[in-house]
C-alpha cells in the first residue's frame, strides 16, 4: 500500500503528461494545465518543508550547544527577511529589497568570487602536462585564455580565430556527444521511473 499508491500515482501522471504531448484535445489541455499548476504548488510546499526542517535542526543544535552562535545567526537571518517583507512589502525601496541588495547579493557574489583565487592557485599547483591528454587540456585552456582577451587581438587577429575554431568544432563535438548521452540516459531513466522500475525517490523519509 505504502509503496503501491505512490508508484500508481507516478505511473498515471507520467503517462498523462507524456500522452498529452500528442493531443490537442481541450480536455487533454485542461488536464495538462491543471497538473502544471499543481506541480508548482507542491514544489512550493517542498521549500516550506525544507525551511521548517532547517529551523527545527537549528533549534535542536542550539539547545544541544552545537555551534549555538552560528546557528542563532542563521536563524536570525531566516526570520529577518519575512519580517521585513511583512512590515514593508517587497517592492522598490522596501526594507526587504534593501536587505537583498546590500547584504544578500554582495555576500553571495563575494563568496563566488573567492573561486578566482582558488582557480589561480589550482592553475599553479595542479595544471601539469604529465600525459598527452593532460597536455591537450592544458594547451586548449591556454588557447582560450589567450584568445579571449583584447590584448591578444592587438598582437594578432589569429588568436581569437583559433579560439573560436577550437570552441566551435572539436570542443563542441565532445560536448554534443555528452549531451546525446545525457539525453538518451534521461529518457531511459524517465521511462524506468514511470514504469516503477526505478524507485529511489521513494526512499529517504
Amino acid at each position: 500500500m505504502r509503496t503501491k499508491i505512490p508508484l500508481l500515482v507516478c505511473l498515471v501522471f507520467g503517462i498523462m503528461m507524456f500522452g498529452q504531448y500528442f493531443s490537442a484535445h481541450p480536455i487533454a489541455k485542461a488536464v495538462y494545465n491543471n497538473i502544471l499548476e499543481w506541480w508548482q504548488i507542491i514544489f512550493a510546499f517542498t521549500l516550506l518543508v525544507g525551511v521548517a526542517s532547517f529551523a527545527r535542526n537549528s533549534l535542536r543544535n542550539i539547545s544541544q550547544r552545537k555551534e549555538p552562535i552560528h546557528r542563532s545567526i542563521a536563524l536570525a537571518g531566516l526570520l529577518v527577511m519575512p519580517v521585513l517583507a511583512l512590515i514593508g512589502g517587497t517592492k522598490t525601496g522596501s526594507p526587504f529589497l534593501w536587505s537583498f541588495q546590500n547584504m544578500l547579493a554582495p555576500m553571495q557574489s563575494t563568496v563566488f568570487s573567492l573561486l578566482a583565487f582558488f582557480v589561480a592557485s589550482a592553475s599553479y599547483r595542479g595544471f601539469r602536462a604529465r600525459t598527452i591528454p593532460a597536455t591537450i587540456l592544458l594547451v586548449t585552456a591556454l588557447i582560450v585564455l589567450i584568445g579571449r582577451i583584447p590584448l591578444a587581438e592587438l598582437i594578432s587577429q589569429s588568436f581569437p580565430k583559433i579560439t573560436f575554431w577550437v570552441q566551435d568544432y572539436p570542443s563542441m563535438a565532445a560536448r554534443r556527444a555528452i549531451l546525446i548521452g545525457i539525453g538518451l540516459g534521461s529518457m531511459t531513466t524517465a521511462l524506468r521511473v514511470i514504469l516503477g522500475i526505478e524507485r529511489t525517490y521513494l526512499r529517504g523519509e
Binding site: 504531448y21 529589497l97 557574489s109 592557485s121
Partner: protein, 270 residues
Amino acid sequence: MERLRTRWIIFLGLAAVVVISYTMNLPFKTSASPATEKAYKYIETLPESSVVIISFDHEASSLPEIQPIALAMLRHVFRKNLRVIGLSLFAEGTAIGYEMLNRTAGECNRNYGRDYVFLGFKPQYISAILGLGESIRRVFPEDYPGNKTDTLAIMRNIDTYDSVRMVISIADGDRTMQWIEYAGARYNQKVMAGLTAAMITSYDPYLSSGQLFAVVGGLRGAAEYELLYGRRAAGNRGMLAQSGAHAYVIALIIIGNIIFFRSRRRKREG
C-alpha cells in the same frame, strides 16, 4: 607552512594585478564575436513594439558578470522601443531583474504596464516554461508589484509564445537549456541567451544546431555588446583587468610546469 606561503603569494599577486589594472582604466576596442554580433543584429532589426520576454534565470552570486550583459541588452531593447515582459525562474533573479528592468526603463523613459512589465517569479521552472506556452496570464495572474495581469496594457492580446518574438534568458546555469528544450522544442519559441563565461562551452552544441539563436557570453560578451551598442560601461571597463588576470593565470601555469619538469628531470638524474 611553505604551501600556505605560496598560496598567499598567489592570492596577493592576483589581487594586485586585478586592482592595478582596474585602476588604470584604459579604454579597449574589442572586436565582437559572431554570436554577440548575431544577437545584436537581431534585436536591431526587430520592428518597434515587438514583444520580447527577458528571463532573469540567475543567482546573486554571478551578478558582477551577468549584470553588465543584462544592462547592455536591456538598454538596447528599450532604445529600439521593444516591449519587454520580464520574469524570473530563479528566486534571486526576481529582485535583481526587477531592479535592473526599472533602472534601464527609467533611463529610456519607458512606462510600466504599457512598455514593460515584470511578472515576477514562479517555481518549478519546467512547469512555468510549459505553462507560458498555454497561457501567460494563468502562470502569472498578477505581476510582481501585485497588479492583475489582465489589466496591464502591455498584456493586451498577448497570452502565449505566439505573440513573443524572442525569449532572452540571462542565466548562469542550465535554465537556458530548459527554455530551449521545452519552449523551443514544443512551441518553436526562439531563444537567445546572456550567459556567464563558464557556461559558454556547455551551450555550443545548441548554438551550432540553431536551437539557441545567439549567445552573449561573460564580461567579454558584455564589452562586445557595449561596443556594438555604442555605450562604454562595466563590461568594457573590466577588460584590462580581465586581460591582466588571464596573463597572471597563464604565467602561473607556465611557471608551475617549468618547476614540475625541472624537478622531474632532477629526480631522474638523481
